[in-house]
């Protein structure tokens, strides 16, 4: 028997994030790929109940999930911290209309970063979200990541606000070259 290409490794905490997304009835997932999200992206692609859209830039995902919400579906966007700045004006759509929105962000430019080009946006990520009206969670453990994902979905879709869950670089592991 071949291994399931969409399965998580036994110790992958992202399996619990996926479970939280399913429990919260996420039906659309939009993403700009990141290695830190890879197994979660795979799992979503392998799930018939989640419609996955790969984006050319992160701001498309903001508009896409607003459209999904208009049509009655819950969504989540997966991106890395370097993509947050690409979204800033599109975040005005969320605030202007009261759209719920959840994004899970893999952090670069903070913990043992090798690439200096990741530093500016990594260091500005949390402040950018807050200034754009987001509730921001930061997860340093896999356990927190899953719990915060569930809570973010409830805050967003029950209380109509945008929420970002930052998955810290310490949790993900600094990228080796």
């Amino acid at each position: 028997m071949r291994a399931d290409p969409f399965a998580f490794a036994a110790d992958d905490w992202r399996a619990n994030i996926f479970a939280a997304l399913k429990e919260q009835q996420v039906q659309q997932m939009a993403y700009v790929p990141d290695a830190g999200h890879a197994s979660l992206i795979n799992a979503c692609h392998g799930d018939d109940g989640i419609n996955c859209t790969v984006l050319t830039t992160e701001e498309e995902g903001v508009a896409l999930l607003a459209g999904a919400e208009l049509g009655g579906q819950r969504g989540v966007m997966l991106m890395q911290s370097s993509g947050v700045g690409n979204c800033v004006n599109m975040f005005s759509l969320l605030k202007s209309c009261g759209f719920p929105f959840v994004t899970l962000v893999t952090m670069r430019g903070e913990w043992g970063e090798f690439n200096p080009w990741q530093m500016p946006m990594g260091q500005a990520t949390e402040e950018t979200f807050r200034r754009s009206g987001f509730v921001v969670y930061r997860a340093d453990t896999g356990e927190d990541a899953a719990a915060m994902t569930g809570s973010a979905m409830r805050l967003a879709y029950d209380s109509n606000c945008p929420v970002a869950v930052l998955l810290s670089q310490r949790l993900i592991g600094a990228k080796d070259f």
């Binding site: 984006l55 050319t56 498309e60 896409l64 579906q73 599109m90 005005s92 202007s96």
Partner: protein, 195 residues
């Protein structure tokens, strides 16, 4: 040359019950409102570059509806990458219609890329849209109407229009109200159909 407001009125005349329209900021929002300010219109007043992507999310969520994004050349140019995203997802119920006056009309009529070198219909086709069509004159309009309302999507239409500034027809500006109105109409429609 097509007269934009008459053309949008013609395309939206006797619109089907399941048609949902998202309008890009600026003149397309005024044109769509002028054709009939109905609850199944979602008017954008900002979020430039996001209209097509928003249409995609809605089309995926509501395969029972026909989703038509009506936007301008400037707004479409800002979201050019989203054409690749739309084509890759290829929802059969999604159409994009660009009112192309080759100018940034809201900001003083500065010339846009489409009057110089960029052919938006060719871009959409190269991204993988199923069908595209451009209307240059009034007699071309019927084919574009058929394309954006009925043909299997994703489809992409362009209206080459004049750049005269028309009277502004201003619909609701409060996004919370626009969203609530639109969602309520969808819910009522769904409940009505399931009775």
């Amino acid at each position: 040359m097509i007269e934009r407001r008459e053309a949008i009125a013609e395309i939206l005349k006797d619109r089907p019950d399941n048609l949902l329209v998202i309008s890009g900021l600026g003149s397309p929002t005024y044109d769509v409102a002028a054709a009939g300010d109905v609850a199944q219109n979602f008017y954008l007043w900002g979020a430039m570059g996001g209209a097509a992507a928003m249409g995609l999310g809605l089309a995926l969520a509501r395969p029972d509806a026909r989703v038509l994004v009506i936007t301008g050349d400037g707004e479409m140019l800002m979201g050019l990458g989203s054409l690749a995203t739309l084509a890759a997802k290829a929802p059969a119920n999604l159409a994009v219609l660009v009112i192309d006056n080759e100018a940034f009309g809201e900001t003083g009529g500065q010339a846009s890329h489409t009057g110089k070198t960029t052919n938006l219909a060719a871009v959409a086709l190269a991204c993988g849209f199923r069908q595209v069509a451009t209307a240059h004159k009034q007699p071309d309009l019927a084919a574009v109407k058929q394309l954006v309302l009925e043909d299997t999507g994703p489809v992409f239409g362009v209206l080459k229009t004049g750049s005269d500034e028309l009277e502004r027809v201003l619909p609701e500006r409060d996004g919370h109200i626009i969203r609530h109105t639109f969602k309520t109409a969808l819910t009522n429609q769904q409940n009505g159909e399931s009775k």
